[in-house]
């Protein structure tokens, strides 16, 4: 059955009369605030303020309150001494694997699965991931995140991405695993590859940030600066080298609104739970495997093999090779291991940057493999070039500044 054109218009009029209400539009305060947060002149200072708040709350809660305030004391004063007392035979292999160094007086330096592994997972990563996802969810549900995406669109187009790439980037600061999955939101293969590669190389995860905050609080700013510079430089190079398109997108910007706390709690629970199910087994298994590799001499052999490259090209002590090799399993633990090695502050900055840009951790590796083995191989090839070139560049900058 077909409806004649006149009748169709009558029907449209009827529906419009019943559903559309007319009035005078008056711009509200919320509308203007929304516009001001998108315009670059006012939006960029506001974005700087919001990111300041994000980082400040993150470090105060995860660093000062939970980890330093309670977890360090709980693990170092109660858990570690108890475990060292009850575990039989400190010279046994099992003691080395699960408790670690019998003379250690803190969980960071013990390197056992039940000492360092549990401390990193529960004492460092849990508070960091919890507060990170809470802040992220509030930004998302208040309507600020789409505005940040719009604001960043022009900048990100210069490295072959568009504004919504900000979401995997921010997620990556929590954990690279959901961030790699979030790259599916990007339009083209080129964009997905660039984002995945940059995530794997230049975005440190929440666990790593938490440990860095604890181990190198004075130099973390320099490490982040090198990572941001590397992100921009290699992003630009990749966008020029990788074939493919970078289309414009339309971003739907919702009104600002107060987040609904039911939703915030649900999202926070799901994300924290998801992270724990994915990452915690890797933390514990990672520590165990690193200890096995140390015990069997594999890491020592690799360290001897790679030492000339690390000492002459990257300018870091020979002893850092072990943690750098182990970083494949857990980057956060590798940073903790670095803290026990004597070196200059600049060597520490170089080593931590190298750990960050070095091979992605096993969990990220597995998720990247799920996205396609060709992409993974290409990302690893890009990564090898970046580590070699950027590591050498940082050493050269240090030589020029007279600090390396």
């Amino acid at each position: 059955m077909t409806i004649p054109c006149d009748q169709r218009w009558e029907l449209v009029d009827l529906i419009a009369k019943r559903t559309v209400s007319k009035g005078t539009y008056r711009q509200t305060l919320g509308d203007v605030l929304g516009e001001l947060t998108v315009k670059p002149l006012t939006g960029i200072p506001i974005a700087l303020g919001v990111l300041y708040a994000f980082w400040s709350v993150f470090s105060s809660f995860a660093g000062a309150l939970v980890t330093d305030g309670f977890m360090v004391k709980l693990f170092d004063n109660y858990w570690l001494p108890w475990l060292q007392n009850v575990w039989p035979d400190p010279n046994s292999i099992l003691y080395f694997l699960f408790v670690g160094d019998p003379l250690a007086n803190n969980c960071f330096e013990a390197f056992g699965m039940l000492t360092s592994g549990l401390f990193v997972a529960i004492g460092v990563v849990l508070p960091a991931v919890f507060i990170f996802y809470l802040m992220m969810t509030i930004l998302e549900d208040s309507g600020y995140l789409p505005r940040l995406a719009t604001l960043m669109d022009t900048v990100l187009h210069r490295i072959g991405l568009h504004g919504y790439a900000i979401i995997p980037m921010i997620l990556g600061l929590g954990c690279n695993v959901p961030a790699v999955t979030a790259t599916r939101n990007l339009e083209t293969k080129k964009q997905r590859f660039i984002m995945m590669t940059l995530l794997a190389i230049f975005i440190p995860c929440g666990a790593q940030l938490g440990v860095m905050l604890d181990v190198i609080p004075d130099t973390i700013g320099w490490v982040m600066l090198y990572l941001i510079l590397g992100f921009a430089i290699f992003g630009y190079i990749l966008s020029k080298v990788i074939p493919g398109s970078n289309p414009e997108i339309l971003i739907d910007i919702p009104q600002y609104r107060w987040p609904m706390w039911d939703n915030v709690i649900k999202k926070l629970w799901n994300r924290t739970k998801g992270f724990f199910l994915n990452a915690v087994p890797f933390v514990l298994a990672g520590v165990l495997l690193v200890n096995v590799l140390y015990l069997t001499g594999v890491i020592q052999a690799l360290a001897d093999l790679l030492a000339p490259l690390f000492v002459t090209w990257f300018g870091v002590p020979k002893e850092t090779v072990g943690p750098l090799v182990a970083a494949f399993l857990r980057k956060d633990l590798a940073v903790a291991q670095l803290s026990t090695i004597a070196m200059t502050p600049y060597q520490m900055i170089t080593s931590v940057v190298l750990i960050s840009i070095y091979f992605p951790c096993v969990a990220t590796f597995v998720v990247m493999l799920r996205e396609g083995w060709r992409e993974l191989l290409a990302a690893i090839a890009a990564l090898a070039v970046v580590v070699f070139a950027y590591g050498g560049l940082i050493h050269a900058i240090g030589i020029l500044l007279g600090v390396a």
Binding site: L36, W55, K73
Partner: protein, 161 residues
């Protein structure tokens, strides 16, 4: 009415100027151009890049936004700018207060107790204070402006002079 409007403009402009001066002072002290400042209950000082350089920059932008919104403040666009300037001051002030709360809940390394005493907790809030914390109560006028904005439609788009 005319005098009242001018007073608001002057108040916000003054507040913006002070925030701008404090923000610049934060950055200069961090950069080592000025020595750390401690006058009465005010303290500016520290080599922490994040808190004093980045935080100082945010405070500076807050001051600039308040200054640019001070003129014709009863216009929606202008008021919104000034309000965002106040929000920037709130960000620094509330994160400073939050940091103090987080640092003072645990007992500290030297004692086996986990929680700080009530006296120890509150003594963490004694002066001196950072510039943003001192500016905080003075910026609440702009929050009150937001509260009254919707209920007082007649003020909208009213020219300053």
């Amino acid at each position: 009415m005319k005098e009242q409007i001018s007073l608001t403009t002057i108040y916000v402009a003054l507040l913006g100027s002070v925030a701008l001066a404090f923000g610049i002072a934060d950055i200069l002290v961090w950069a080592g151009v000025l020595n750390s400042i401690e006058i009465g209950i005010l303290t500016i000082g520290g080599d922490d890049f994040f808190r004093w350089a980045w935080g100082g920059l945010v405070l500076t932008f807050g001051g600039i936004l308040m200054l640019s919104g001070a003129q014709n403040i009863y216009q929606l666009q202008q008021f919104s700018k000034a309000f965002l300037g106040a929000v920037m001051v709130w960000i620094i002030a509330f994160t400073d207060i939050f940091a103090t709360v987080c640092e003072n809940i645990p007992a500290g390394e030297e004692t086996p107790a986990f929680f700080n005493s009530l006296y120890g907790f509150f003594s963490g809030f004694l002066p001196p204070y950072t510039p943003a914390v001192l500016l905080l109560p003075f910026t609440f006028l702009l929050a009150y402006g937001v509260y009254t904005w919707n209920s007082d439609e007649s003020k909208r788009d009213l020219p300053d002079e």
